[in-house]
């Protein structure tokens, strides 16, 4: 994993104590698109399952992840696709 992905994974573990977490760098699929740059780590997908999401709406789940990763989203990360599941789902 790259440095940005490492930082994102660490922050997500601290914030949500997830049961499952994948931080996937999909930058290569966006080669040449807006926000892409050489070296990757611009476009990510996060798959996360956490009890913290049980009973929480989709919008609020994403808002909480966006808040946890606010520094990355304001900086190196151009796009973040989120697949967020509650532990009970």
């Amino acid at each position: 994993m790259g440095q940005v992905a490492d930082t994102m994974a660490r922050k997500l573990r601290e914030a949500f104590a997830p049961e499952a977490l994948d931080v996937i760098d999909e930058s290569e699929q966006h080669r040449g698109h807006g926000g892409w740059r050489e070296g990757g780590e611009t476009h990510f997908r996060v798959r996360m399952t956490a009890a913290a999401f049980d009973g929480v709406s989709r919008v609020e789940r994403q808002r909480s992840v966006n808040r946890a990763l606010a520094d990355e989203l304001a900086g190196p990360v151009h796009a973040l696709a989120l697949e967020l599941r509650g532990a009970a789902e």
């Binding site: 698109h33 807006g34 989709r58 919008v59 994403q62 808002r63 966006n66 989203l73 796009a79 973040l80 696709a81 989120l82 697949e83």
Partner: protein, 123 residues
């Protein structure tokens, strides 16, 4: 961000049942994520107003603060924020979008929605 932008957004979502804040227009989307949501809404026969945030920098920033949502596109139904590209895609495939539209009294083509789900089940 200006109050004028927020007032404009409030007026748009009050005057139209379905509003998509997007990059580009429904006929000429300027971003893959905006394009995908436009295609879903169009295919499902949903009457929506497209608001091009690229045409107005204050609006582009304003809609992010208004919705507490950092990305474009953003979909509103009957004045309520529904989500961005990921959420709309998931809700389309799960049938939750049909339910939401039905609950809100927004007309859509159920057969077309089923076709999207069929096509994605085979993929």
């Amino acid at each position: 961000m200006t109050d004028a932008a927020h007032e404009q957004i409030k007026a748009d979502i009050a005057a139209n049942d379905v509003v998509l804040f997007m990059k580009g227009t429904r006929t000429m989307p300027q971003c893959g994520f905006s394009s995908r949501v436009t295609q879903i809404l169009t295919f499902m026969g949903i009457d929506f107003k497209d608001v091009n945030v690229l045409a107005d920098a204050a609006l582009r920033d304003g809609v992010k603060t208004f919705s507490d949502w950092p990305t474009i596109p953003q979909l509103y139904v009957k004045g309520e924020f529904v989500g961005g590209c990921d959420i709309i895609t998931e809700m389309t495939l799960s049938g939750e979008l049909d339910q939401l539209l039905a609950d809100k009294g927004v007309t859509f083509d159920k057969t077309a929605a089923d076709k999207i789900r069929e096509a994605n089940a085979q993929a």
